[in-house]
């Protein structure tokens, strides 16, 4: 049984890390009152950016260009939604579509339509002395690529920032009452723009993680719905950073279960487990699993600027 537990935890963390990165970014976006469905596109752009950057300049610049690619998608969202007051859902849908088309086209144009497997440098695991030797969870939690440790630091940092800093309070105020925040002298548009850019950067980083710390290659559409899952995780995590980590772990565990089932040769319908986190999210939204309250202005289009 132990030889099943360790791979299970490892697979859980592996799946959870890019989801958590993307969801932590989307969390700030949503706390500012916006829903960016273009997150899926940012992740995909990040994955492609990582491929281009890493195959030319190595892992570090791979991550940098992943972030840059995510930022490009986020910038478009800012231009349309924050600046021009266009509808968030439609803009986000279009940006995801744009990213799918653009990465697919560029990939086939640059690397050939056969999509030959590219071997690019990847981010090696960096074991933390002592902790990595813990039984069962040691390897899964503490012998990971550095990007994993970033998540460990980022979540509590964001929780503190949201709860304890002036800027965090301003962000939450915008999400709940943009008009009141504006009246109180908060630069609503600027804060929203920054939140979207932060979300895009983390989305890009999530895509970079898929390529540079996991798959070691790029495939068309490899974001595979993670952007949408991240949006679910934000809701499941009740719009708090630590809740988001819990949500990401739950989704990670659900997908790890299918590997465990396959490894054990159990003929159970693992699709049921894959669907469970989504059902839990719906239950959470309905208030069945504690009270999940969305930011009051979430998804609303603001009045045009006068």
């Amino acid at each position: 049984m132990t030889d099943l537990v360790e791979p299970f935890f490892a697979a859980t963390i592996r799946t959870a890390v890019p989801l958590a990165l993307a969801a932590l970014g989307e969390l700030l976006v949503e706390r500012a009152g916006l829903i960016n469905i273009g997150l899926e596109g940012a992740i995909l752009a990040g994955a492609f950016g990582a491929l281009v950057g890493a195959s030319e300049f190595g892992v570090a610049l791979g991550f940098a260009s992943a972030i840059a690619a995510g930022l490009i998608v986020a910038l478009l969202f800012v231009a349309f939604v924050v600046w021009a007051r266009a509808d968030q859902i439609i803009t986000g849908t279009a940006l995801t579509l744009l990213s799918m088309g653009a990465t697919g086209t560029l990939y086939r144009a640059i690397y050939g339509s056969s999509g030959a497997a590219l071997s690019i440098p990847t981010s090696a695991a960096l074991p933390i002395p002592g902790l990595a030797a813990l039984p069962a969870i040691g390897t899964a939690l503490f012998s990971q690529p550095p990007i994993t440790y970033l998540v460990y630091v980022l979540a509590p940092a964001l929780a503190w920032w949201l709860a304890r800093t002036h800027a965090g309070l301003a962000l939450r105020a915008i999400g709940d009452r943009p008009d009141a925040a504006e009246a109180a002298g908060i630069a609503v548009d600027r804060v929203r723009a920054l939140a979207v850019l932060f979300g895009g950067a983390l989305g890009g980083l999530a895509g970079g993680t898929l390529v540079l710390a996991q798959a070691g290659t790029f495939a068309e559409g490899m974001s595979a719905g993670r952007g949408f899952i991240a949006i679910a995780i934000v809701a499941l995590g009740r719009w708090t950073p630590l809740g988001v980590i819990g949500g990401a772990l739950l989704f990670g565990a659900a997908s790890a279960l299918q590997f465990a089932f396959q490894a054990m040769g159990w003929n159970a319908p693992y699709q049921v487990f894959l669907a469970v986190p989504y059902l839990l999210t719906l239950a959470a939204l309905a208030g069945a699993v504690g009270r999940a309250r969305a930011p009051a202005s979430l998804g609303q289009t603001l009045e045009p600027r006068r």
Binding site: I35, I37, L76, F80, A84, R85, A86, D87, Q88, I89, I90, T91, T93, A94, L95, L97, L98, M100, G101, A102, G104, T105, Y107, R108, A109, S113, E220, G225, F228, I229, I231, A232, A235, P269, Q271, V272, L274, A275, Y278, L279, T281, L282, L285, A286, G287, A294, L298, G299, Q300, T301, P304
Partner: protein
Amino acid sequence: MRHEKRPRAVWRDSIVRELAQAVIVLVAIVGTTALLLAVGGYAVDSGLAALWRGSLGSWYAFTSATLVRAIPLLFTGVAVAVAFRAGVLNIGAEGQLLAGAAAAAAVAISLNGFPAVIVVLLALAASAMGGLAWASIAAYLRSRFAVLEVISTIMLNFVALHGVSYLVRGPLQEPTHIYPQSSTINDAFHLPRVVGAGRLHSGLLLALGVSIVAGWVLRRTAAGFRLIAAGESPSAATSAGRIDVMATTTLTFLASGALAGLAGGVEVLGVTFALYENISPGYGYTAIAVALLARLDPWRVVATAVLFGGLEAGAGAMQRDAGVPSTLVTVIEAALILAVVAVGALRRRSSFPDAAATPIAA
């Protein structure tokens, strides 16, 4: 909203304007495609020629490729248009389509041996009910708990995807239990082909009927008036119009789900003849673009669904004949939506309802 008869000159003006807009859209598409081809270093003339050949260049391409792809986009496009008009942001057409496809396949497979007409009608009814039932989950959460339908329908899309994946490996799997798909539906239950039009099936007529009726309901009936009023301003509809906004939007949501479900049923009975995992290449998502470009009008959806069906059909030909990545067309679709969004936002009078994303407290 216009219930009075409009004078003939107004009709003529609006038709001229529609045609002008259609020409602008087509020119923009060809121009953008040419530009992208040139930037990508592909031969512009052979790329465009392949796009033409694959979509409109021959009767066969038009019927068997373009129109066959347009049918599910028509159903889902109308489904999305109607919902968005009522301020219901139904992103779940994909999941509702899958639920409809599964329901239709289940009925058609299990009723083997019954009279064909009855089975086909039952299967289509089942697909509409399947889509409706799938939408009802999000509609209930919206009305009872004020859960944003944007989030809940995305969740339900994934649940539907995993659900179909389970069905084709479990209860609905073909008898040999080798392939993850259902058994093939009896030939007698296939939707009849349109004579002389290749693979084109009679689901097109149903799709056209649906969009004509939906457009008529929105334009000419009290129910359509309530729907649009609820979408444009829920508070005004409640206070000035004595309209039960929640009942109106919930019913619209259910109807939208039923239409998207029909897309799945028609696809199963007319094209795939079996249920399998990748039965929809994202029709439910493309539908958002189709509906938006049609400015949320079911009649215009006929044109935009054919346009997108043609683009996707042409994309395949570009890839085959000119070596141009078919994903180029996705870029063009996205650019088209963004252009529409930008024009609407900059004019400050997008036809998109202001209250669209505002949940109404239970």
